[in-house]
Structures are given as structure tokens and as C-alpha cells.
């Protein structure tokens, strides 16, 4: 490995540069567009030299877009709030339900435990529309079709398997001996769980929660099928925005930037855990 020629070094450098350009350019370009007016966006040839403007963001935040043809209402901030609310609530509920279950699967090999764990995992791999399409009808019958509650429930299918499998791995990595010692000292099961197991698995639980948040935020099809217009998250809202105001390119770009910033920030923050999380604990980072 050490005997690398100059030629090889150069080739590697070129290859890496191309890779970085391919994967980074779209993010860079959309970020630039979000600070441009339609005039500079439509200019030919495209240029990176322009006077940046915050008017796109201002229009999104105030929800009013003034054009020559009149004012247009944009519900984008509403979508952003929906995304925050849906993702945070779904992950919180998933943690409350999933962490104790993960602990049970890790510590007690009870009858059917592997089957249950696999059933939960298989939800990760089934085609979502298979259940979503009949679910639209059930939601109408149950009166859930216009509620956050219904959406949050369905979002559990994204968050729960993820949290269960990642956190279970973290609990399995903690030696049970510490817990036994604490139990023998006369502490209850719950105290052991709360004072010993939870803090030790803390980083893993946090990482699983962050990943679940990213997946919930990025989900598209669940909300597309089940959410009414005023409950839509950014993924669905941005698409609707494109259809309704197809020519406001600057605003579309800034809407995309606002929509992806939270997940990108979290991913950078939690990048140490991403490998393990994405492979559900199969590959250590």
C-alpha cells in the first residue's frame, strides 16, 4: 500500500475530486439558487456571480409572495411546523415504546422473542403502499383521516423497528453483571433499568432517536397518502408547492434548503452512529 507512484496519486486525486463534485454540487447549486431572484436564475449562461437576496426566504416565512400578477399565499411554514411536530412526537412515542421492548429482547430470551423482533423488523422491508392504500379507508371509518394522531401512529412503522434494533444492540453490548450486582443489592427491577441500563445505553438511545427523526422527517409516501393538506410535512408540501406555483424557482429552492437543513445538521452531529444505525447494527462504524 505504501509504494504508491506519483501517477497513481494523481489518478486518485482526480477520482476523488470528481466524486466530491458529483455529490456536493447539487447541494451547493440549490443553495445558490435560493439566494437568487428569478431573473438571475433564468439568465443564460448560468452564473455564480449575482447579488444575493433574502427575498425568497422572506416570502416563505411571511407566507406572502407578491408578484406582478398579485399576491400568492404560501403554506410552507405550516408544512415545516407539521414536519417538526410529526417527527418529534413520533420519535418520542417510539422511544417510550421501543426502549423497554429493546431491553426485554436484549436481556430476556423469552418464548417467541426472536419471532416478535423479526416481525417488527419485517415492517421495515414491506412495500408501504400495500398497507397504506387499505389504511386510507380504515382511517375514514375510524375518523383518523384528518388527524395528527393517525399519522403519528403510522409513523411508528418507520421509527419503532429502527429504535428497537439499534437500542437492542446497545443493551446487548452492556454486560449484564453490573445489573445483577445492583439487583442483588436489593434494588427493584425498575430502579436497575433506570439507574444502570438506561444511562449506559444512553448514547445508543440518543443516536437511534436522531436516526429515527431523520427517517420520519424524510418520509414521503405515508404523508402523501394519508395527510390532508393542512397536516402535510415538508416532503409532500414542497411537491405541492412546485405544482401550484411552478415558476417561483427561487422560492422552491429556498423551500428545499429549509426542508433539508434539519436532517443535514443532525446527520453531521450524529455521523459517528450513522453506519451502525443505517445497517441496523450489522456493521460497526
Amino acid at each position: 500500500m505504501e509504494t504508491t507512484s506519483t501517477l497513481e496519486k494523481t489518478l486518485r486525486l482526480i477520482a476523488l475530486t470528481l466524486v466530491v463534485i458529483f455529490f456536493m454540487f447539487p447541494i451547493f447549486w440549490i443553495l445558490l439558487m435560493s439566494f437568487q431572484t428569478n431573473e438571475t436564475i433564468l439568465a443564460i449562461p448560468p452564473s455564480v456571480i449575482f447579488t444575493p437576496t433574502l427575498s425568497n426566504y422572506a416570502a416563505l416565512i411571511t407566507g406572502k409572495l407578491t408578484t406582478a400578477a398579485g399576491t400568492l399565499d404560501i403554506a410552507f411554514m405550516r408544512n415545516l411546523m407539521n414536519s417538526i411536530f410529526l417527527s418529534v412526537t413520533s420519535v418520542a412515542i417510539s422511544l417510550v415504546l421501543g426502549v423497554p421492548a429493546a431491553y426485554a429482547f436484549a436481556r430476556h430470551k423469552f418464548k417467541g422473542s426472536e419471532d416478535i423482533a423479526f416481525t417488527l423488523l419485517s415492517f421495515r422491508f414491506a412495500p408501504p403502499l400495500l398497507v397504506l392504500l387499505p389504511l386510507t379507508q380504515y382511517f375514514q371509518w375510524l375518523g383518523l383521516s384528518d388527524t395528527y394522531f393517525g399519522l403519528i401512529w403510522v409513523y411508528q412503522l418507520i421509527c419503532l423497528p429502527l429504535i428497537l434494533w439499534i437500542v437492542r444492540g446497545y443493551f446487548e453490548d452492556i454486560s449484564a453483571d453490573v445489573e445483577y450486582a445492583y439487583r442483588i443489592a436489593g434494588h427493584s427491577w425498575f430502579a436497575t433499568f433506570r439507574k444502570i441500563a438506561l444511562p449506559l445505553a444512553g448514547p445508543g438511545i440518543a443516536a437511534a432517536g436522531l436516526l429515527a427523526f431523520i427517517f420520519a422527517w424524510n418520509n414521503f409516501v405515508f404523508a402523501l397518502v394519508l395527510a390532508s393538506a393542512d397536516k402535510q410535512p415538508v416532503t409532500v408540501g414542497a411537491l405541492a408547492f412546485v405544482t401550484s406555483s411552478g415558476i417561483q424557482y427561487g422560492q422552491i429552492a429556498s423551500a428545499i434548503v429549509l426542508s433539508v437543513t434539519p436532517t443535514l445538521a443532525l446527520a453531521l452531529y450524529a455521523q459517528r452512529y450513522l453506519v451502525e444505525g443505517l445497517s441496523l447494527g450489522a456493521v460497526k462504524g
Binding site: M24, I27, F125, P127, T263
Partner: protein, 307 residues
Amino acid sequence: MASTATLRKPASGFRISRKMLPYVLSLPALLVCIGILIPFFTAVIYSFQRYRLSQPWARQFNWGENYLNFFTDPAFWNTLKVSLLYAGITVTLELLLGLGIALLLQRRSTVNNFISIMLLLPLMIAPALAALMWKLMTNPSFGILSYLASLIGLHDFRWASSPSTALLTVVLVDIWVYTPFIMILLLAGLRSLPTQPFEAAALDGVPRTFVFFRITLPMLTPYILTATLFRLLDSIQQFDIIYAMTQGGPGNTLTVFQVEAYLNFFQSTNVGRSAALMVILWAITYLLSNIFIKNWLRLRERARGEA
């Protein structure tokens, strides 16, 4: 969590509660998901019915007719062909590219680590939003990619709006989003390989291509298989990118399974056909996921063992 109050009471009920504890702990999570099994069975029943939302009175069991009709239905064969083509092309290209990038970044250095973190960003963008980003970049009137295409002589290159290049365009977006996934799994795999075989080979002056094909690749195979099957399972079900980019069009160029089922349900309101399509896709993914889970479990055991 209500159950914990009873569990904290010591002595008397201890043996029973200890036995019941794992069930009590995992029951809420299970209950939340079990609700989903009901619509699953409903979908299977729908797939055996003649059921159109526009003609609710004509709803009745027609048993296998929805499935039998597929044999003579060119739209179905198109769906099957496009889905397999999409999954095949994306996974193959992403695997080659992901492996290549992982090998480039294998050596631990500040620059390499920084690049590998940067490359994760596309993966963290919602695929539907990624599709919109590329839609802006391939817009015929101002898209930077359309402009670049015109510079190399491809004037009026239509990207996703032309039937001949639509598949290529969505594949490109898929590659942009998901290559980092394969890359980070393989990079983690490469970096966890034992160093002795490589040191021994270097000492003996074994050619690098030989080392790659005879040592690196075989040792990396479980990681490659896991990453590939993971992606294959997702890719054959791709919906977000294709729907956000072209809604299955132009025409029926990109009506992969989930897009076709969605359009059948909401546009032509043919619930029976839509459900039958989903059941077939489910059968395909079930087979794949069984192979996948076996493989993945083996890898997971190994990862746990090394921890």
C-alpha cells in the same frame, strides 16, 4: 409504563412478574404495529375482488381474475420490466461506485474522513426533495445540467420529460442519493478487516490486483451482500424519487410497482388491480428479505462478537 408500578412492589408477585416482564415490556410496541396487520389482510382480500371505487355496486369476489389478467396485460409486464430494470441498474451502479469510493477513502486520514462525512449528506436528504433538487437542475429553460448538456452538443436534452432519457435521469438521482449508503457500509467493512493478510501479502510482494481479488473481495463479501440486498429491497420498491420527479411518466415509462399501484388506486380507482400489484411486490420483497435477514444476522453476530 403503567405496569411498572405493580412490578416495583417487592416479594410476593416477584416470580410471576419476572416471567411476565419481557412480555409486558414489549407488548405496547407490538400492539402499535399489530394494527398494521389488519390492512395487510384487507389488501390481500381486495386483490381477490373486482373492486373499483367508481363502481362500488359491482364489487364482488372474482378470485384470481386480477392475477390471471396480468398475464395478458402489457401494462403489468411493463411494470415488472421497469421495476426490475430500475432495481438492477441502480444497485449494480451504486455497488460499483460505492466500492470504488470506499477503496479510495480506505486509508484513515483527516481529509478522507472529512470527505466520507460530506458524502453522507445526499443520503440524509429526503429522496422526494432530492428529486425536486434534480428537477430544478434539469429544467429545460434554466437548469444547469441542461445548460451543461447543451455545451457538449446535446441541445434540447429533455432529461426526465423524454421517454428515452427518463429512466436514466431517475437512476442518476437514485445513484446520487443511495451510493453513499453502500459506500459507508463498505468503508466500515474495509476498515474492520484484519491487517495481517495484507501485511503478509505486501511482504511477499504479491501483486495488488491479486490482493484485491483474492483477499479484499472475499473478506468483504458479507458486507457487499448485506449492502446489496438492503438496497435491492428498497430499490425494487422505489416510489419517492420517481413519483416526485415524473409521477411515473412520461406516459407509462416509469410506472414501477408502487407508482403503478398508487395511480391505479387514486386515478383509475381500480382497487383490485392495485392490491394485486402490491401483493406481488410483497411476495418479491418477502423472498428477498428472507435471504437478506439470514445474511444480515450472520454479519450482526460477527459485529457483536468483535465489539
